[in-house]
Amino acid sequence: MKAKIILGLVVVGLMANGSSCLNDPFIVPLNAPLKHCEVSNPGQTWGDDPPTTVYVLGEIPEDYQDLVVGARLVDIVVYATNAAPTDSVNGEAGIVTAGGYQQVVTFRGNGNDFSQRRSLLQDQSPLIAANAVGVDSLKAVINRFIANPENTFVTIDSRGIVLPTSTGHEVCVEILVQVDTEVPFD
Protein backbone atom coordinates (compact mmCIF):
# COMPACT_ATOMS: atom_id res chain seq x y z
CA MET A 1 0.00 0.00 0.00
CA LYS A 2 2.84 2.38 0.90
CA ALA A 3 4.48 1.65 -2.45
CA LYS A 4 1.31 2.51 -4.35
CA ILE A 5 0.89 5.76 -2.45
CA ILE A 6 4.50 6.80 -3.09
CA LEU A 7 4.35 5.87 -6.77
CA GLY A 8 1.11 7.82 -7.08
CA LEU A 9 2.70 10.86 -5.46
CA VAL A 10 5.64 10.64 -7.84
CA VAL A 11 3.33 10.55 -10.85
CA VAL A 12 1.19 13.42 -9.60
CA GLY A 13 4.29 15.43 -8.72
CA LEU A 14 5.85 14.99 -12.11
CA MET A 15 2.61 15.89 -13.86
CA ALA A 16 2.18 18.97 -11.70
CA ASN A 17 5.65 20.28 -12.38
CA GLY A 18 5.14 20.34 -16.11
CA SER A 19 5.99 16.85 -17.16
CA SER A 20 2.58 16.35 -18.57
CA CYS A 21 4.28 16.95 -21.22
CA LEU A 22 3.69 17.44 -24.98
CA ASN A 23 3.16 20.57 -27.03
CA ASP A 24 -0.19 19.74 -28.53
CA PRO A 25 -0.54 20.44 -31.35
CA PHE A 26 2.88 21.16 -32.76
CA ILE A 27 3.91 22.44 -36.17
CA VAL A 28 5.93 20.21 -38.47
CA PRO A 29 7.22 22.12 -41.53
CA LEU A 30 7.58 19.73 -44.46
CA ASN A 31 9.51 20.15 -47.71
CA ALA A 32 7.46 20.27 -50.89
CA PRO A 33 9.69 20.68 -53.97
CA LEU A 34 7.63 21.52 -57.07
CA LYS A 35 9.64 20.32 -60.05
CA HIS A 36 9.57 20.83 -63.78
CA CYS A 37 12.19 19.48 -66.21
CA GLU A 38 12.58 19.80 -69.94
CA VAL A 39 14.78 17.63 -72.14
CA SER A 40 16.34 18.63 -75.37
CA ASN A 41 18.67 16.81 -77.73
CA PRO A 42 21.07 18.08 -80.38
CA GLY A 43 19.12 19.77 -83.12
CA GLN A 44 16.02 20.26 -80.98
CA THR A 45 14.63 23.51 -79.65
CA TRP A 46 14.35 23.65 -75.87
CA GLY A 47 11.07 24.63 -74.30
CA ASP A 48 8.76 22.52 -76.39
CA ASP A 49 7.83 20.18 -73.56
CA PRO A 50 4.44 20.88 -72.03
CA PRO A 51 4.21 22.65 -68.66
CA THR A 52 4.17 20.52 -65.50
CA THR A 53 1.14 20.85 -63.27
CA VAL A 54 1.98 19.94 -59.69
CA TYR A 55 -0.60 19.10 -57.03
CA VAL A 56 1.11 20.74 -54.06
CA LEU A 57 -0.67 18.62 -51.48
CA GLY A 58 0.61 15.52 -53.23
CA GLU A 59 4.18 16.56 -52.46
CA ILE A 60 3.78 15.95 -48.71
CA PRO A 61 3.07 12.60 -47.02
CA GLU A 62 -0.55 11.50 -47.12
CA ASP A 63 -0.85 11.43 -43.31
CA TYR A 64 -0.25 15.17 -43.21
CA GLN A 65 -2.45 16.29 -46.08
CA ASP A 66 -5.40 17.15 -43.83
CA LEU A 67 -3.20 19.11 -41.43
CA VAL A 68 -1.97 22.02 -43.54
CA VAL A 69 -1.98 25.37 -41.73
CA GLY A 70 0.65 27.35 -43.62
CA ALA A 71 3.14 27.41 -46.46
CA ARG A 72 5.91 29.62 -47.77
CA LEU A 73 8.25 29.98 -50.71
CA VAL A 74 11.78 29.15 -49.54
CA ASP A 75 13.88 29.13 -52.71
CA ILE A 76 13.95 28.42 -56.44
CA VAL A 77 16.64 26.12 -57.81
CA VAL A 78 17.78 25.52 -61.39
CA TYR A 79 20.12 22.78 -62.57
CA ALA A 80 21.05 20.86 -65.70
CA THR A 81 21.80 17.19 -66.18
CA ASN A 82 23.58 15.45 -69.04
CA ALA A 83 24.84 18.80 -70.22
CA ALA A 84 28.23 19.26 -71.82
CA PRO A 85 30.25 21.93 -69.97
CA THR A 86 29.98 24.35 -72.85
CA ASP A 87 26.29 23.77 -73.56
CA SER A 88 24.32 26.96 -73.31
CA VAL A 89 21.81 27.13 -70.45
CA ASN A 90 20.05 30.43 -70.94
CA GLY A 91 16.38 30.75 -70.25
CA GLU A 92 13.59 31.47 -67.88
CA ALA A 93 11.03 29.65 -65.79
CA GLY A 94 7.65 30.71 -64.59
CA ILE A 95 4.15 29.71 -63.67
CA VAL A 96 1.01 29.55 -65.71
CA THR A 97 -1.95 31.25 -64.09
CA ALA A 98 -5.40 32.26 -65.28
CA GLY A 99 -3.74 35.33 -66.75
CA GLY A 100 -1.26 33.27 -68.74
CA TYR A 101 2.46 32.59 -68.38
CA GLN A 102 4.27 34.68 -65.77
CA GLN A 103 8.07 34.70 -65.69
CA VAL A 104 9.46 34.08 -62.17
CA VAL A 105 13.21 33.62 -62.72
CA THR A 106 15.72 34.00 -65.52
CA PHE A 107 19.00 32.11 -65.69
CA ARG A 108 22.11 32.49 -67.75
CA GLY A 109 25.18 30.28 -67.95
CA ASN A 110 26.46 27.05 -69.42
CA GLY A 111 26.35 23.36 -68.63
CA ASN A 112 29.29 23.68 -66.29
CA ASP A 113 27.60 26.46 -64.30
CA PHE A 114 24.41 24.47 -63.89
CA SER A 115 25.92 21.02 -63.33
CA GLN A 116 25.21 21.73 -59.65
CA ARG A 117 22.02 23.08 -58.13
CA ARG A 118 21.90 26.85 -58.47
CA SER A 119 19.74 28.69 -56.01
CA LEU A 120 17.99 32.01 -56.22
CA LEU A 121 19.25 32.66 -52.70
CA GLN A 122 22.87 31.76 -53.30
CA ASP A 123 23.44 32.57 -56.92
CA GLN A 124 21.23 35.54 -57.66
CA SER A 125 23.63 37.22 -59.97
CA PRO A 126 24.66 36.52 -62.61
CA LEU A 127 23.34 32.93 -62.79
CA ILE A 128 19.76 33.41 -61.58
CA ALA A 129 17.68 36.53 -61.26
CA ALA A 130 14.21 36.89 -59.81
CA ASN A 131 11.35 38.64 -61.50
CA ALA A 132 9.71 40.45 -58.60
CA VAL A 133 6.26 40.44 -60.16
CA GLY A 134 6.54 36.75 -60.92
CA VAL A 135 7.72 35.93 -57.40
CA ASP A 136 4.72 37.81 -56.01
CA SER A 137 2.43 35.82 -58.32
CA LEU A 138 3.99 32.61 -57.07
CA LYS A 139 3.54 33.70 -53.46
CA ALA A 140 -0.10 34.45 -54.25
CA VAL A 141 -0.56 30.90 -55.51
CA ILE A 142 1.03 29.56 -52.33
CA ASN A 143 -1.32 31.71 -50.27
CA ARG A 144 -4.22 30.21 -52.17
CA PHE A 145 -2.84 26.81 -51.28
CA ILE A 146 -2.95 27.70 -47.59
CA ALA A 147 -6.60 28.72 -47.91
CA ASN A 148 -7.62 25.84 -50.13
CA PRO A 149 -4.97 23.12 -50.18
CA GLU A 150 -7.18 20.44 -51.72
CA ASN A 151 -7.78 22.46 -54.89
CA THR A 152 -4.48 24.21 -55.52
CA PHE A 153 -2.22 23.29 -58.41
CA VAL A 154 0.93 25.02 -59.59
CA THR A 155 1.72 24.89 -63.30
CA ILE A 156 5.41 25.42 -64.07
CA ASP A 157 6.90 26.08 -67.47
CA SER A 158 10.30 27.06 -68.78
CA ARG A 159 11.69 28.26 -72.06
CA GLY A 160 14.88 29.66 -73.46
CA ILE A 161 17.88 29.04 -75.57
CA VAL A 162 19.73 25.83 -75.06
CA LEU A 163 22.19 24.59 -77.58
CA PRO A 164 22.81 21.02 -76.52
CA THR A 165 25.70 19.06 -77.90
CA SER A 166 24.89 16.01 -75.83
CA THR A 167 21.84 13.75 -75.90
CA GLY A 168 19.34 14.01 -73.05
CA HIS A 169 20.35 17.48 -71.98
CA GLU A 170 17.83 18.33 -69.27
CA VAL A 171 17.17 21.59 -67.45
CA CYS A 172 15.14 21.39 -64.24
CA VAL A 173 13.49 24.03 -62.12
CA GLU A 174 12.49 23.34 -58.52
CA ILE A 175 10.27 25.67 -56.57
CA LEU A 176 11.02 24.86 -52.94
CA VAL A 177 7.96 25.30 -50.73
CA GLN A 178 7.76 24.65 -47.03
CA VAL A 179 4.34 23.42 -45.89
CA ASP A 180 3.41 23.79 -42.22
CA THR A 181 1.32 20.97 -40.81
CA GLU A 182 -0.28 21.05 -37.38
CA VAL A 183 0.04 17.64 -35.75
CA PRO A 184 -2.29 16.80 -32.87
CA PHE A 185 -1.34 14.17 -30.31
CA ASP A 186 -4.88 13.22 -29.36
Partner: protein
Protein backbone atom coordinates in the same frame (compact mmCIF):
# COMPACT_ATOMS: atom_id res chain seq x y z
CA UNK B 1 -2.45 28.56 -27.53
CA UNK B 2 -0.13 25.74 -26.53
CA UNK B 3 -1.67 23.30 -24.11
CA UNK B 4 -0.89 19.88 -22.77
CA UNK B 5 -4.19 18.14 -23.25
CA UNK B 6 -5.53 15.61 -20.79
CA UNK B 7 -4.80 12.66 -23.04
CA UNK B 8 -1.21 13.76 -23.51
CA UNK B 9 -0.88 14.13 -19.76
CA UNK B 10 -2.41 10.73 -19.27
CA UNK B 11 0.00 9.22 -21.77
CA UNK B 12 2.97 10.60 -19.88
CA UNK B 13 1.59 9.35 -16.61
CA UNK B 14 0.77 6.02 -18.22
CA UNK B 15 4.40 5.80 -19.21
CA UNK B 16 5.30 5.79 -15.56
CA UNK B 17 2.68 3.26 -14.72
CA UNK B 18 4.19 0.82 -17.17
CA UNK B 19 7.54 1.74 -15.67
CA UNK B 20 9.10 3.33 -18.71
CA UNK B 21 8.12 6.75 -19.88
CA UNK B 22 8.09 6.54 -23.67
CA UNK B 23 8.38 10.26 -24.19
CA UNK B 24 10.04 9.83 -27.54
CA UNK B 25 7.72 7.17 -28.83
CA UNK B 26 4.55 9.12 -28.10
CA UNK B 27 5.47 11.52 -30.82
CA UNK B 28 7.88 9.61 -32.94
CA UNK B 29 6.11 9.70 -36.25
CA UNK B 30 5.73 13.45 -36.19
CA UNK B 31 9.24 13.93 -34.79
CA UNK B 32 10.66 11.77 -37.54
CA UNK B 33 8.90 13.90 -40.14
CA UNK B 34 10.26 17.06 -38.54
CA UNK B 35 13.80 15.65 -38.55
CA UNK B 36 13.47 14.43 -42.13
CA UNK B 37 12.62 17.94 -43.30
CA UNK B 38 15.50 19.56 -41.41
CA UNK B 39 19.09 19.72 -42.59
CA UNK B 40 21.60 17.57 -40.72
CA UNK B 41 23.12 20.48 -38.77
CA UNK B 42 19.69 21.55 -37.57
CA UNK B 43 18.78 18.01 -36.54
CA UNK B 44 21.89 17.97 -34.36
CA UNK B 45 21.00 21.25 -32.68
CA UNK B 46 17.35 20.31 -32.32
CA UNK B 47 18.10 16.95 -30.70
CA UNK B 48 21.32 17.62 -28.71
CA UNK B 49 19.51 18.56 -25.46
CA UNK B 50 17.59 15.30 -25.67
CA UNK B 51 20.85 13.40 -26.04
CA UNK B 52 22.31 15.23 -23.03
CA UNK B 53 19.39 14.90 -20.65
CA UNK B 54 18.18 11.45 -21.55
CA UNK B 55 21.74 10.19 -21.56
CA UNK B 56 22.21 11.44 -18.00
CA UNK B 57 18.96 9.76 -16.96
CA UNK B 58 19.98 6.51 -18.55
CA UNK B 59 23.17 6.44 -16.47
CA UNK B 60 21.57 7.20 -13.10
CA UNK B 61 19.65 5.36 -10.39
CA UNK B 62 21.78 2.25 -10.42
CA UNK B 63 22.40 2.07 -6.65
CA UNK B 64 21.04 3.04 -3.23
CA UNK B 65 23.89 1.70 -1.13
CA UNK B 66 27.46 0.62 -1.74
CA UNK B 67 27.05 -2.48 0.39
CA UNK B 68 27.34 -5.72 -1.57
CA UNK B 69 27.22 -9.03 0.32
CA UNK B 70 30.33 -11.13 -0.10
CA UNK B 71 28.39 -14.39 -0.35
CA UNK B 72 24.89 -15.85 -0.16
CA UNK B 73 21.80 -15.34 -2.26
CA UNK B 74 20.22 -11.93 -2.19
CA UNK B 75 17.69 -10.28 -4.44
CA UNK B 76 16.57 -6.68 -4.87
CA UNK B 77 13.76 -5.19 -6.93
CA UNK B 78 13.62 -1.43 -7.43
CA UNK B 79 11.44 0.99 -9.31
CA UNK B 80 13.57 3.96 -10.32
CA UNK B 81 12.36 7.36 -11.48
CA UNK B 82 14.87 9.81 -12.98
CA UNK B 83 14.47 13.41 -14.01
CA UNK B 84 16.91 15.81 -15.68
CA UNK B 85 16.10 19.49 -15.43
CA UNK B 86 15.17 21.28 -18.65
CA UNK B 87 16.47 24.83 -18.47
CA UNK B 88 16.23 27.73 -20.91
CA UNK B 89 19.50 26.66 -22.52
CA UNK B 90 17.91 23.36 -23.52
CA UNK B 91 14.92 25.04 -25.18
CA UNK B 92 16.52 26.89 -28.09
CA UNK B 93 19.43 26.53 -30.46
CA UNK B 94 21.14 28.47 -33.21
CA UNK B 95 19.51 27.02 -36.31
CA UNK B 96 21.03 27.21 -39.78
CA UNK B 97 18.91 28.92 -42.42
CA UNK B 98 18.93 27.52 -45.96
CA UNK B 99 22.14 28.32 -47.84
CA UNK B 100 22.18 31.86 -49.08
CA UNK B 101 19.82 33.24 -46.46
CA UNK B 102 20.76 36.50 -44.78
CA UNK B 103 21.01 36.04 -41.83
CA UNK B 104 22.66 32.66 -42.10
CA UNK B 105 21.47 31.52 -38.67
CA UNK B 106 18.47 32.16 -36.47
CA UNK B 107 17.31 31.10 -33.03
CA UNK B 108 14.65 28.39 -33.00
CA UNK B 109 13.13 25.78 -30.72
CA UNK B 110 14.83 22.54 -29.75
CA UNK B 111 12.76 19.46 -29.08
CA UNK B 112 12.17 20.96 -25.60
CA UNK B 113 11.30 24.41 -26.94
CA UNK B 114 8.05 26.13 -27.73
CA UNK B 115 7.23 27.41 -31.20
CA UNK B 116 9.73 27.22 -34.04
CA UNK B 117 10.86 30.60 -35.31
CA UNK B 118 10.70 32.03 -38.82
CA UNK B 119 13.62 33.73 -40.55
CA UNK B 120 13.32 36.10 -43.52
CA UNK B 121 16.04 36.56 -46.11
CA UNK B 122 16.67 40.31 -46.27
CA UNK B 123 17.24 40.74 -50.02
CA UNK B 124 14.51 38.43 -51.33
CA UNK B 125 12.00 38.42 -48.44
CA UNK B 126 11.82 34.64 -48.77
CA UNK B 127 11.14 32.90 -45.47
CA UNK B 128 11.96 29.66 -43.68
CA UNK B 129 10.54 28.21 -40.46
CA UNK B 130 12.02 25.91 -37.82
CA UNK B 131 10.08 23.03 -36.30
CA UNK B 132 8.23 23.43 -33.03
CA UNK B 133 9.43 21.80 -29.85
CA UNK B 134 7.68 18.60 -28.87
CA UNK B 135 8.03 18.40 -25.10
CA UNK B 136 6.51 21.04 -22.88
CA UNK B 137 8.26 20.14 -19.68
CA UNK B 138 10.57 21.41 -16.98
CA UNK B 139 11.95 17.93 -16.42
CA UNK B 140 12.96 15.14 -18.78
CA UNK B 141 11.65 12.09 -16.96
CA UNK B 142 12.29 8.40 -17.25
CA UNK B 143 11.42 5.41 -15.13
CA UNK B 144 12.47 1.80 -15.13
CA UNK B 145 12.36 -1.33 -13.01
CA UNK B 146 15.60 -2.99 -12.08
CA UNK B 147 16.68 -6.12 -10.29
CA UNK B 148 19.92 -7.06 -8.59
CA UNK B 149 20.97 -10.60 -7.84
CA UNK B 150 24.04 -11.74 -5.92
CA UNK B 151 26.45 -12.59 -4.58
CA UNK B 152 29.26 -14.42 -6.24
CA UNK B 153 32.63 -13.66 -4.66
CA UNK B 154 31.29 -10.31 -3.54
CA UNK B 155 29.81 -9.49 -6.94
CA UNK B 156 26.19 -8.78 -7.74
CA UNK B 157 24.54 -8.43 -11.14
CA UNK B 158 22.00 -5.86 -12.28
CA UNK B 159 19.36 -5.94 -14.96
CA UNK B 160 16.86 -3.41 -16.23
CA UNK B 161 14.13 -4.10 -18.71
CA UNK B 162 11.20 -2.06 -19.92
CA UNK B 163 8.97 -2.44 -22.93
CA UNK B 164 6.11 -0.34 -24.23
CA UNK B 165 4.30 -1.93 -27.18
CA UNK B 166 3.35 0.00 -30.28
CA UNK B 167 0.02 1.78 -29.93
CA UNK B 168 -1.42 2.81 -33.28
CA UNK B 169 0.50 4.84 -35.84
CA UNK B 170 1.93 7.46 -33.50
CA UNK B 171 3.23 5.15 -30.79
CA UNK B 172 6.15 3.01 -31.85
CA UNK B 173 7.35 0.33 -29.46
CA UNK B 174 10.10 1.25 -27.02
CA UNK B 175 12.55 -1.16 -25.45
CA UNK B 176 14.98 -0.45 -22.64
CA UNK B 177 17.47 -2.85 -21.18
CA UNK B 178 20.58 -2.61 -19.08
CA UNK B 179 23.08 -4.97 -17.52
CA UNK B 180 25.76 -4.36 -14.97
CA UNK B 181 27.96 -5.79 -12.26
CA UNK B 182 29.13 -4.42 -8.93
CA UNK B 183 31.94 -5.71 -6.76
CA UNK B 184 32.47 -5.43 -3.01
CA UNK B 185 35.81 -3.70 -2.37
CA UNK B 186 35.79 -4.02 1.44
CA UNK B 187 36.74 -7.69 1.22
CA UNK B 188 40.09 -6.62 -0.22
CA UNK B 189 40.87 -3.86 2.29
CA UNK B 190 39.81 -5.33 5.63
CA UNK B 191 37.72 -3.34 8.08
CA UNK B 192 36.74 0.08 6.76
CA UNK B 193 34.34 2.69 8.19
CA UNK B 194 32.44 2.78 4.87
CA UNK B 195 31.04 0.27 2.46
CA UNK B 196 32.88 0.54 -0.86
CA UNK B 197 32.17 -0.97 -4.24
CA UNK B 198 33.08 -0.57 -7.89
CA UNK B 199 30.64 -1.04 -10.74
CA UNK B 200 30.14 -1.02 -14.48
CA UNK B 201 26.79 -0.71 -16.25
CA UNK B 202 25.71 -0.72 -19.90
CA UNK B 203 22.27 0.33 -21.07
CA UNK B 204 20.37 0.61 -24.33
CA UNK B 205 17.07 2.14 -25.34
CA UNK B 206 15.48 2.02 -28.76
CA UNK B 207 12.28 3.45 -30.14
CA UNK B 208 11.25 2.06 -33.49
CA UNK B 209 14.03 2.49 -36.02
CA UNK B 210 14.48 6.21 -35.44
CA UNK B 211 16.10 6.38 -32.02
CA UNK B 212 18.72 4.32 -30.25
CA UNK B 213 20.49 5.26 -27.05
CA UNK B 214 23.56 3.55 -25.64
CA UNK B 215 24.94 4.36 -22.23
CA UNK B 216 28.02 3.26 -20.29
CA UNK B 217 28.78 4.01 -16.67
CA UNK B 218 31.86 3.04 -14.66
CA UNK B 219 32.17 4.19 -11.08
CA UNK B 220 33.13 3.79 -7.46
CA UNK B 221 30.54 3.98 -4.70
CA UNK B 222 30.57 4.49 -0.93
CA UNK B 223 27.88 4.34 1.73
CA UNK B 224 27.38 4.41 5.46
CA UNK B 225 24.41 3.15 7.49
CA UNK B 226 23.04 5.00 10.50
CA UNK B 227 20.17 2.86 11.77
CA UNK B 228 17.40 3.02 9.18
CA UNK B 229 19.24 5.80 7.30
CA UNK B 230 21.80 5.06 4.61
CA UNK B 231 23.90 7.87 3.17
CA UNK B 232 25.53 7.05 -0.14
CA UNK B 233 27.51 8.64 -2.92
CA UNK B 234 29.88 7.95 -5.74
CA UNK B 235 31.97 9.19 -8.58
CA UNK B 236 31.34 7.87 -12.05
CA UNK B 237 32.57 8.24 -15.59
CA UNK B 238 29.77 7.94 -18.06
CA UNK B 239 29.13 8.20 -21.75
CA UNK B 240 26.00 8.10 -23.83
CA UNK B 241 25.31 8.21 -27.55
CA UNK B 242 22.06 8.95 -29.30
CA UNK B 243 21.86 7.48 -32.80
CA UNK B 244 19.18 8.81 -35.12
CA UNK B 245 18.31 7.06 -38.37
CA UNK B 246 15.85 8.59 -40.77
CA UNK B 247 15.28 9.38 -44.43
CA UNK B 248 15.96 13.01 -45.26
CA UNK B 249 13.51 14.93 -47.44
CA UNK B 250 15.81 17.92 -47.84
CA UNK B 251 15.72 18.54 -51.62
CA UNK B 252 19.47 19.16 -51.88
CA UNK B 253 20.43 16.11 -49.77
CA UNK B 254 17.74 13.44 -49.81
CA UNK B 255 18.30 9.88 -48.64
CA UNK B 256 19.17 7.90 -45.56
CA UNK B 257 20.85 9.78 -42.74
CA UNK B 258 22.51 8.45 -39.61
CA UNK B 259 23.54 10.91 -36.94
CA UNK B 260 25.32 10.18 -33.69
CA UNK B 261 25.10 12.67 -30.83
CA UNK B 262 27.21 12.21 -27.71
CA UNK B 263 25.70 13.26 -24.40
CA UNK B 264 27.74 15.95 -22.69
CA UNK B 265 27.77 14.27 -19.30
CA UNK B 266 31.10 12.54 -18.60
CA UNK B 267 32.07 12.75 -14.95
CA UNK B 268 29.25 12.86 -12.42
CA UNK B 269 29.23 12.95 -8.65
CA UNK B 270 26.30 11.31 -6.87
CA UNK B 271 25.03 12.03 -3.35
CA UNK B 272 21.93 10.49 -1.86
CA UNK B 273 20.17 9.02 1.10
CA UNK B 274 17.73 6.22 1.72
CA UNK B 275 15.50 4.86 4.46
CA UNK B 276 15.09 1.18 5.19
CA UNK B 277 11.95 -0.32 6.71
CA UNK B 278 12.70 -4.01 6.71
CA UNK B 279 12.67 -5.15 3.11
CA UNK B 280 11.06 -1.92 1.96
CA UNK B 281 13.39 0.92 0.93
CA UNK B 282 12.90 4.47 -0.25
CA UNK B 283 15.76 6.53 -1.61
CA UNK B 284 16.67 9.61 -3.60
CA UNK B 285 19.87 11.14 -4.95
CA UNK B 286 21.27 13.94 -7.02
CA UNK B 287 23.80 13.52 -9.81
CA UNK B 288 25.96 16.53 -10.48
CA UNK B 289 28.04 16.87 -13.62
CA UNK B 290 27.68 18.67 -16.92
CA UNK B 291 24.03 17.69 -16.53
CA UNK B 292 22.33 17.70 -13.15
CA UNK B 293 19.61 15.16 -12.64
CA UNK B 294 17.69 13.54 -9.83
CA UNK B 295 16.84 9.92 -9.31
CA UNK B 296 14.98 8.05 -6.66
CA UNK B 297 12.52 5.32 -6.06
CA UNK B 298 11.34 2.48 -3.96
CA UNK B 299 12.89 -0.92 -3.50
CA UNK B 300 12.32 -4.29 -2.00
CA UNK B 301 14.92 -6.68 -0.62
CA UNK B 302 18.61 -6.15 -0.14
Amino acid sequence: MRTARPLAALLCAAGFLVLLLPSMSTSQTAVESALAAYGEENVKGYMQPFADLFGANLNSGYYRTAAVPVAGLHFEFDIIVMGAMVGDAEKKFNATAPSGFTPATFESATIFGDEGKEVTDSPTRLTYRGADGVFNTTMMPMATPQIKVGSLYGTEFLGRFGYVPALGDNFESTTLWAIGARHNLNQWFGTLPLDLSAAVYYSSLSTGELVKFDGLMVGAQASKEFGILTVYGGLGYQSSTLTLKYESTVPSAPGNVEIKLDGKNNVAFTAGAGLSFGIFKIFADINVGSVTNLSGGIGFGG
